[in-house]
Amino acid sequence: MKIAVLGAGHVGPVLARLALAAGYEVGIAGSGDPARIEMITEFLAPGAVALPAADAVANADLVVLAIPWHRFPALEPGMFAGKVVVDSMNHWPPAEAPLGTSEEVARRLAGADVVKTLNHVAYQDMEPAGGRAVGVAGDSPDAVRAVAEFLERIGFDPVPVGSLAAGRLLEPGSPLFGVAARRQEFENLVKEQS
């Protein structure tokens, strides 16, 4: 399976590294010319291939959005049709209450199966994943299954929390945001909130 990571900032290279270590082929894209992120890729995610976003997405089975929220409107939505898209973004400026940002992503990327996860883990806590529980929310059961398998292979313990709308549970302002927990504790928190 091939992974496209969009974003070469705080989060993108970390997820690219985790995916490479799990044996995935990884394409990574920043904004604009891939030459701009070649040096970053070489040192922070050696083995990943720096590509234009459209090429990275076209080649991939699963696309991870790890770009700043305010850059999202600049993405060309058409290229995501038929793809499983992991939304790891959070609203910017920081919000204090859940806003349903992944529902907004899904509306814009109509034709893609959007799954919300990883947004609730700070980038410095992602590596090593160490079996940390992460929530997974999405409307397509197949897409949720595919993303859960990816998360498990890169070292997380995926916990389905329901539909994309239920993914608000993973946003800032919810007690699950930023929680470093094992599955049992995470599931208990989900139950308390649902």
Partner: protein, 340 residues
């Protein structure tokens, strides 16, 4: 490269013995005393991180640094960081160039995008322009450092044409503070600014690829090697137990508050034990424990500079003074021995 050891503070409001917060004015006067003590115990740098909140009232760091400059003779004085994105590079240059004159060439600037974003609404900037503001203003700042009349044009401030921006003083070291953005690492190298890695959580060793990226980028841009520094939070007391117990309730309180919007996990006794242990980012403990961890981290990241970010809201001024004294008189000599 010669090693330098410094202290950074965000000027958190401290408390008196009865747990009552001190006034902003007293907090600021105490920071001046802390800077003077840092010089007395032989430290190489004292930095103040600009903040704009009631619990961190040091919004005009350069004024406080000038007061410290007047009472010290050898310590370097700088920002940690200056939030350049929401400031005017011309004014930043003028203030630190003036500090450089007042202090006899002891000014330094650490530029940052700002991880606390309170200054954006305060000064009328849009957070959506976060990256563009920093990119353009860093460029202007680099041009100003060259000295002489400047001609410059951009989107974030009025254009300059053959403009003298004074005072012209000796060149002063400029750093870029990086919290985790690889683009900032490359940007620092491209302008020939030193790299300050802010490591505030997780395993410090994960920043090693950032050091390699920086050194490679300097080479690629045809620049000479420049220092890499580390900024990390910590607290020093005579014993590990004492340091950990003093720091814990205030750390829990602060991370708990910040984590709500930034996704930091709320600390637990277990996660705290990990952070203060050999693989975490908190330099909290006895002089021996802190020194050992500093030496190991500096070697791992090929760093020649370490700035301990001391002080956290709720501790007392006296406790901070003890950290400064132990850091200067015990920790730093131990680290120097370990690195020799």
């Amino acid at each position: 490269m010669t090693t330098t050891f410094g202290l950074d503070t965000f000027g958190d409001v401290t408390q008196d013995a009865s747990g009552t917060p001190l006034t902003h004015a007293q907090t600021i006067r105490n920071v001046v005393e802390q800077g003077v003590l840092a010089d007395q115990v032989g430290l190489g740098f004292f930095g103040i991180g600009e903040h704009h909140t009631p619990d961190m009232p040091l919004s005009a760091a350069d004024v406080v640094l000038a007061a410290i400059a007047a009472r010290t003779s050898s310590i370097h004085l700088g920002s940690a960081v200056t939030v350049l994105s929401s400031d005017d590079p011309v004014r930043v240059y003028q203030r630190f160039s003036t500090l450089n004159a007042v202090s006899g060439g002891r000014a330094e600037v650490i530029l940052g995008r700002g991880s606390s974003v309170d200054s954006f609404p305060l000064f009328g900037y849009d957070l959506a322009d976060y990256e563009d503001l920093f990119e353009e203003k860093t460029h202007l700042f680099a041009e100003l450092l060259k000295g002489g009349p400047i001609t410059w044009q951009g989107k974030t401030r009025a254009a300059l044409h053959e403009q003298d921006v004074v005072p012209y003083t000796e060149p002063f070291p400029t750093w870029i503070g990086v919290g985790g953005s690889p683009q900032s690492v490359v940007r620092a190298a491209s302008y020939g600014f030193s790299l300050m890695l802010a490591i505030i959580g997780g395993h410090p060793g994960r920043f090693a690829p950032f050091s390699e990226l920086y050194q490679h980028a300097l080479e690629k841009f045809g620049r000479d090697p420049l220092p890499i520094g580390i900024h990390s939070p910590g607290h020093v007391a005579p014993t590990d137990e004492e340091a950990r117990e003093e720091f814990w309730p205030h750390y829990l309180d602060m991370i708990g508050r910040l984590g709500k919007t930034r996704g930091f996990a709320t600390p637990t006794p277990e996660s705290y034990a990990h952070e203060v242990g050999p693989h975490g980012a908190l330099f909290v403990g006895s002089p021996e424990t802190v020194a050992e961890k500093m030496a190991r981290t500096m070697k791992k990241l090929d760093a020649s500079r370490f700035d301990l970010k001391y002080g956290i809201g709720g501790l007392s001024h006296e406790s901070l003074m003890r950290t400064i004294e132990l850091y200067g008189t015990k920790v730093v000599p131990l680290v120097q021995d370990m690195l020799a």
